[in-house]
Symmetry: C2
Subunit: 153 residues, 2 copies
DNA sequence: TATTGTTATACTCTATAACTATA
DNA sequence: TATAGTTATAGAGTATAACAATA
């Protein structure tokens, strides 16, 4: 029988992370970090980070959407959007127009350039999403999405 | 036939987020935010945030683990751990002992207090995870975990 | 009185580079 | 020469409070 190393001097060769891996939040967080990393690398050519992409895409599919509506949809705070909207406008990707029925609000719209960029970015986003989920079948991917939505909706 | 509002003056009542909802990364991120929010609220009594909890739990299940091993397991950078380890030691939840075979490294261990806290915190974490996934069956929860791991491992 | 958009501010989390001591 | 742990620093992301204009 070989001498056992005392517990106080023990060293670890193989890390046991099985408990953490049993937590949904741990797994969603780790998966998010991997996908966001790939996202940042592939979307850098468009100068878009995740939230900026989400904003541009939502405006594309909802012309006339307001900042307030973007905030509630994406679950972010109004101050986050201010600089982002200004920057997207300065890049001539979006325009602000007076809201037809609310003098306080502004309706957001894409420019022709913005529409083109949004379309390209969405193709890239879908491509890299497929790469990130390459080990999943189409059915598994669909299942994953449904299960995740049951958590946050 | 009712007069249609011109596109330039259009307003949006119902936001169409269907494209974003078709992206895995969007769904993992939204789910993570919901779970982390619940985590922060329920774990505040222990004074533990997500990464601190992960560190404490990993030390509990891997006595003698080093900072470097925590970094590679959790995919975080060494500087993040320095203050955290100091704080956990000051709270007398962990102790640092010289590594038996590497003079540069320190083996991390839980104190009796740390073991007790880690055990309680793990029960709370498991409970709130179950609450967050209340709309999922046990099978669905298991499936979700397996699918997520296929993305980040 | 409530809401939209805005400003100012601070806090958390994280990434990078450089250092020391040991290997 | 490489690695473990540390320090200093900067950046990104987010949260809160308070304000003007409008509802």
């Amino acid at each position: 029988m070989p001498a056992r190393t005392p517990a106080t001097d023990s060293t670890i060769d193989q890390i046991d992370a099985s408990y953490l891996e049993s937590l949904v939040g741990y797994n969603t967080r780790r998966a998010t970090l991997v996908i966001v990393d790939a996202f940042l690398r592939h979307m850098a050519v468009y100068g878009l980070k995740p939230v900026e992409f989400s904003v541009l895409s939502l405006i594309a599919h909802n012309p006339g959407i307001t900042s307030r509506q973007l905030c509630t949809t994406l679950n972010i705070q109004p101050p986050i959007l201010v600089g982002m909207i200004n920057q997207l406008e300065k890049r001539e990707l979006i325009t602000r127009r007076p809201h037809p029925r609310d003098g306080r609000a502004m309706g957001l719209h894409l420019t022709a350039t913005g529409r083109k960029l949004a379309k390209q970015a969405e193709v890239t986003a879908s491509d890299l999403e497929e790469a990130a989920t390459a080990r999943l079948s189409a059915t598994e991917r669909k299942t994953l999405m449904q299960l995740l939505r049951k958590i946050y909706i």
